[in-house]
Symmetry: C4
Subunit: 285 residues, 4 copies
């Protein structure tokens, strides 16, 4: 995003009031910029809360009018902000088609559509993605660096985790099918049990991940024995992703320990802290 | 607290019977001090138990009188202790406004208020915070050092954990809203399901954390598929905070273990804390 | 499998069209081989889905005919593939009795049996093991290396995990029996509770692994106290397998990272795999 | 146990047939000793299974006679074994009062008591502790070493885990009491909810440990919000014991890496693998 903006700016530098709006909206290092970020944070929080509360029947019945007013005010505010963002960047199209540009549009569009087509109620839920706009504000500062470390550790272990999840899913499918054979049709009274393979696989996932709703649970002794086996399996293999991520995080930390010193002879980096000679060209560091 | 007290003492040194009370109540290195700590521990345990049992209907009906007597005796004992603490410190106000001072007051106040205003029953629950007084007794000895190590590891990883929890919460909100759209209104018979967004978010948190009450559970195939996805997600990302804390604890431990002392002869580091001679050149450290 | 095939090939080298079929079916490094793998993947996915959907009453009622046609087409395709595999290996018997050979046979047999003996419906479920054939396709590439690392870590810790699981199971049996004594017969109205020791052990496993269905749950105060103890125990000892696997994975990683090469000049070790010169004395490795 | 026996033997060495019985029963390095261990393992498994199945109504009704015969045969076998153990040790009293001696006695006593006093049915459950006798057989071989490593890691972290569990319990008590105030009496229809503080604390533990039975679950919005907070807390702090145990296990492993070499000058151990000179006296290793 930053890189993008830097490039965009190099196209044709902003000046005058457009530069000033840009600094307020996109940057956070001026008092006006900080104030704008705080204001935006509050607006997002209030409007997300309003979207959520609208779906609660009691609240809608008693405070529906207030919620709708809040909604319209917020939509106007977000619309003004959206237009200001478009104006204050040198390459508006790049902003509009960017990830946050689309989210910004989806945050305000449903209200206008709902205003003209009152039947499009289901569409209103889309507004909940306003929530994602919070991440833009938190993009600066300490949070980013930590988030990057975590994301990096997850990325480094993505293959291991894919293998692990694939195996877990295949296990759930095979064990779920087995349970369908054992338990299927054994609950004439309840009618909630292992009535089909997809339902049994759903149950196997619920059990393997130790969630355990209890909406479906085995009733035959053999089924309960196999369920016990699945539980203990799920309980034990939970250790695997944890181990993977821990090792990656631990290495991410160790990489931080590597000196950033580059060899004066071959200019290459990645030396251990105790290295006296460059490991690439043999020159003294 | 200790530091605070040391400073307080330097204001105007205690002497005579006030010093003796101080040593008994605040210190644990005399026989009387130890005995007082044990007595206090028992008193806290009994009175907390009494508060808890009072809310059980059967116990209240049969042993209500005994519980009330226990309560009054304990309150008198705690009141005497509270007054003794105020008397035996050089700066009473500092004690009264400290964390434990406020807890001490809140432990006894509700009983007196309930004695004069019999309608203030709900207030009685506040007395459960007596439990926190136990931590004062355990403040000394081995427990503190271990607790500090844990607290330090958690503190060092607080940013990472904040980022992680923020992401989890945002995921729960988005996924909960999605489930509201999919499952909402699909349970006309039950009336317990995904009736509003806040309720759906509550369900998403219950599922993501692998708690899985089962009071709300998806019934449509699409809903169950997404629920399975949330479960596996929750099951996998549980690895992240574990990895964070493990790495921090591991580093906290290593810091403890290695001295930063370097050998005066060969200038190399990495000696064990119990080393007398350099392990590289044999010179005396 | 590869080793097996290499040996088999040395028996009597394949040639002509049999070699070509072999390359298409067993290898993935030619365009035809890759295309075949993708085709097979889609066929397995479709036929597994068909087997699963057949058990859903609504789908079976509305689309039963289509599912049966899909099933027959897939079975014919798998049969052709099975015959092609037998023809294109030098030692057919070795393939037929191998793990994947048996799975391949079990994938097609039930359909033929069900065609002639219509009563053998339960047998149809066996076809779900087609799913396992997916692992053959994924046997190559990145997945294998990661899976091997995980499998190796699990294998290295298998004794520790066996000890751990044995202890957990014994604990569940003893605690389950204890709960049977405490809770047994205390739920005359429900009839779902701790009615026998095996059932109580099942409950103990459900609780210890933090699954918690809620189909059986304690109702007496003493039972709930012991249940709380079991939960906290299960919650805490979950740390043990995680710790075991993490340590093993961490060591598997370290083994990968460091070469055992020692410098020919100063004879010191601990060089990175990409080191060309000794980091201690600067000599060429 | 071994130490104990060695001492006992030095009292007055066994000889003749008593020594031979001792070798068969207590040791596993002769063919007869191994065969006895296997026989004992089977006997324990069968008799434990019989005790468990006796409590299942359907099995008891149909196979009650067989189970009772099995029970009597097993009890006679265990009685003979118990007497043989007493005879074949030099100090019988030491064996009888040892941990396994008491378990051996409790394994057979209830059957005899039940034979004479038919009303003492509840006592029969005690026989389930026969299960613990299995651990004696597994005391030898690989299992012990791994179990010791795990036990050592748990022991090394016992203080940290005590602090952690104490904090979790205190949190559950405070949060449970809070939920009692919020949810108490809000479920007039169900009567299953937060009816007393002990029950609310039980619920808090069920939630914090992510077990989540669902027999008690919050219904008010505020209660669900706090429940969400407890879940996320429990989900996150699960990381703490895992981190503790992982670090300990990792160190237990590293300690294994330490050389067992003792200094030729001062005879002290604990040197690093790369040490050239003794870190205690400076002498060359």
């Amino acid at each position: 995003m930053l890189q993008e903006r830097t490039k965009a700016r190099s196209d044709r530098p902003l000046s005058g009031w457009r530069l000033r709006i840009h600094d307020i909206i996109f940057e956070a290092d001026t008092p006006a910029g900080k104030a704008f970020d705080v204001l935006l944070l509050i607006a997002i929080a209030i409007s997300t809360l309003a979207v959520m509360l609208e779906t609660v029947k009691e609240v809608e019945r008693d405070y529906g009018e207030i919620l709708r007013v809040v909604e319209y005010v917020m939509t106007v505010f977000f619309t003004v902000e959206y237009i200001a963002r478009i104006i204050s960047v040198t390459n508006p199209w790049r902003y509009i088609t960017s990830f946050y540009g689309i989210i910004d549009l989806l945050s305000i569009l449903p209200t206008y559509v709902g205003f003209f087509f009152t039947s499009a109620r289901a569409l209103q839920i889309i507004r909940i993605i306003r929530l994602l706009r919070i991440f833009r504000i938190f993009k600066l500062g300490r949070y980013v660096r930590e988030a990057q470390l975590l994301a990096q550790a997850l990325k480094a272990s993505q293959w291991k985790i894919t293998v692990f999840l694939g195996t877990v899913l295949a296990l759930c499918m095979v064990l779920g099918s087995l349970m369908y054979v054992i338990e299927g049709g054994s609950q004439p009274g309840k009618g909630e049990g292992f009535t089909s393979i997809p339902r049994s696989i759903y149950w196997a996932i619920v059990t393997m991940t130790t969630v355990g709703y209890g909406d479906i649970s085995p009733v035959t002794p053999l089924g309960q024995t196999i369920a016990s086996f699945i539980m203990i399996l799920g309980y034990s293999i939970l250790a695997v992703p944890t181990g993977i991520v821990t090792v990656e995080l631990s290495q991410g930390d160790q990489k931080k320990v590597l000196t950033t010193q580059s060899c004066p002879h071959c200019a290459r980096q990645g030396h251990d802290p105790d290295a006296v000679f460059c490991k690439h060209c043999g020159g003294r560091l």
